[in-house]
Symmetry: C2
Subunit: 420 residues, 2 copies
């Protein structure tokens, strides 16, 4: 079954890659219109998923799979926004004429066929389909079994729009069986699929990386650090830390660990704990920090527990924050490079020299100077849309926009040039 | 053993990534000097490989593993040339200030640790070590068992240079056992190796792609086409075809198949066969071409045989050329997209419109208009050096220079910016 889907996707991808900008934009707007027009069917299908999940899903999971008119409206608005973005297909760059007169340029072309494996949010179906079509890529979608009715209804709408705008319906296909061996089969479709994008937790990413024969964009997992240098403005540093921790604790770019220089720690740490405790944050304190936070040298406040050895290798995704005191900038850098997953890490400092040293030595997808880690996001970085956040090193790193769904070809134009 | 090598390589890579340009250039020049100074030891080691191979290697294979003073001199000269190239490390690009005042830029940083698996040419050891060090990457080399003495001698020299210039000797490590299970172990070192680059034939590339858990740059295999449009200048077209076929038939960018428009074929094909037969080329003719080439309608000339079905899926790497007549530009494009491995394909035409159509529809790493496929090469494209030619789609496509051994990080500098 998947081989056949792969063949059809590849054929569709070739047509899509040559389809004009207006046609690819039109299909996005048409999907947006149909999402609204078909809302009663879509919401009815979604209700079947919600009912089926009532028995065994948590409230948070139900919320994630739930669609309503407002959410459908937001999905439609996102599609219209993506349609307005500049077309990445065909963009020429690095143009030059070689000494022998051969004219050389690179031209962006779609990657081809994307395989996207995701979990319970049905909006990902529309989101990824929109980004794939905009960038001229075909896509094979594999959503979670708990949203299968919603996804079928959404893919049905997408298919109608593809037909209505004259694009191949196979450009967006959906694996509509909950059979998990099909995920493995998708990861082995080397001949037809050019890139695998998992959207979900660490377990899904690891599974894809372990089993895929196709390049995988892994990411979405971040153990994010902020280091408070002794030169940092304590009040402003606190604002940034609070933002990075509490603005959206479940996000991959939310803060996990604060490292504080020992010269500022005796003043800064109690201030930090006092402020963030008010937001409901609880702390995992390394002994270096705990020793400064004991009440009268005896007990830790209730919001603080001693950090276990692997706490600094844990992505909290909740209102938990690790605390550690470091003796120097270099100790901070060493801690970050040892425990970060290469997502987002930053320094808060008044010293340009220390900032430069931190930026040079910390090798994460996004490195911050005096800013919240929460900025690691395609929209925040001005990319217009976000496909994923890559924490692997090849092809694209950090937030991926439309351009990161492209490859290029070299085009050389001569006058019957021969190599000497 | 490989895990330990991986750990050491990762540590070395972190030091190397922050080493100044001058130090990385100095080590290349130092290796060049020592290659010449240690030539008697190196050539003696190489002689042991040649003697060991005498019994079971072909003359061509012996020639490939052979070193002499001239070849050592060329290797040293290449290193000095690479040392002079601009440093790709730390290059900033896509700088911008976001509406909120956050300053954002991308900065090129080394990929980290490369794993390079190659076959009999010992010059690859020096070549890759030089490119890795120049680009701030550590490398684990796995050469062919038939060149193990030569490679040990070369790696010994590299180690001396690394120590002499104060760089970590583990930046270039060599798997000095012929045990083939170590190749598999290298392909599984996900935790320490960032990119696998195979340098060799199709079997090696397929093995790496099948077995690697690390991203692999596959390439080096090309079934290259030139399509002769009915508007092409026959004499000039012949010059380009001859160059693409005979200048270096063993190269991956050498021509494999000529497609000729039927309007020009009755004149052009006999001309082509007559000219290239003089160079020793033999032909595999599709019936569409053979029917135009039979002597007096009876027999094919001795240099021509009827093409078997899979001949158009064969990379010849020798003086063999496939011939086919097509009814239209679209048939030519369909043939190329069905049989090309996405390496190098071109059109010979006087029609700008046909050239544009071919360029738009043919999705190969390098697409040519009125030029020989032999130009697909890092040096010819002005990249200064060539790591490999990629025919996969992610990260880099076509000739890869130093910049293609880099990734980037995002650097965001603010004034205690928080996300709203």
């Amino acid at each position: 079954m998947l081989t056949y889907m792969g063949q059809k996707a590849q054929t569709a991808a070739r047509i899509l890659a040559c389809a004009p900008t207006a046609q690819r934009d039109a299909v996005l707007k048409d999907i947006a219109d149909r999402l609204i027009a078909a809302r009663s069917d879509i919401l009815a299908a979604n209700e079947r998923d919600v009912e089926a999940g009532a028995a065994n899903l948590t409230e948070a999971m139900i919320d994630r799979l739930l669609l309503n008119e407002k959410r459908l409206g937001a999905m439609a608005a996102d599609l219209r926004h993506v349609a307005e973005l500049p077309d990445p297909v065909g963009e020429a760059f690095e143009q030059r004429t070689l000494p022998n007169g051969l004219q050389l340029r690179k031209q962006r072309v779609p990657l081809g066929v994307l395989g996207v494996i995701y979990e319970s949010r049905p909006n990902v179906t529309i989101d990824i389909a929109g980004l794939a079509l905009k960038s001229g890529n075909a896509v094979i979608l594999r959503g979670g079994s708990e949203t299968i009715c919603s996804n079928k209804a959404l893919v049905e709408v997408i298919g109608q729009s593809l037909r209505a705008t004259g694009l191949p319906p196979d450009a967006v296909q959906f694996v509509d069986s909950p059979d998990r061996t099909l995920v493995l089969a998708l990861l082995r479709l080397v001949k037809y699929v050019d890139l695998i994008i998992p959207r979900g937790g660490a377990a899904l990413h690891n599974f894809c990386r372990q089993n895929s024969r196709i390049p995988v964009i892994t990411g979405g997992v971040g153990i994010c650090h902020l280091y408070v240098d002794d030169s940092a403005d304590p009040g402003k540093a606190l604002d940034v830390i609070r933002n990075a921790k509490i603005q959206k604790p479940s996000a991959c770019n939310a803060l996990d660990t604060v490292l504080v220089h020992r010269a500022i720690a005796p003043v800064f740490l109690p201030m930090l704990v006092s402020c963030l405790s008010g937001d409901g944050v609880v702390f995992k304190a390394h002994e270096s920090a705990a020793s400064l936070l004991r009440n009268g040298g005896q007990d830790l406040p209730l919001s603080i527990t001693a950090a276990a050895p692997d706490d600094f290798d844990t992505e909290w995704l909740s209102l938990v924050l690790g605390l550690k005191v470091v003796l120097s900038l270099d100790e901070a850098i060493a801690h970050v490079n040892a425990h970060s997953q290469g997502h987002s890490d930053g320094i808060l400092t008044a010293s340009r020299r220390n900032a430069e040293h931190f930026v040079a030595e910390v090798d994460s997808a996004a490195v911050y100077v005096n800013a919240s880690t929460r900025f690691t996001d395609g929209a925040q970085f001005g990319l217009g849309a976000e496909v994923a956040i890559s924490t692997q090193r090849l092809h694209a790193r950090g937030p991926m926009g439309l351009r990161e769904l492209m490859t290029y070809k070299w085009i050389a134009t001569g006058d019957y040039h021969v190599r000497l």
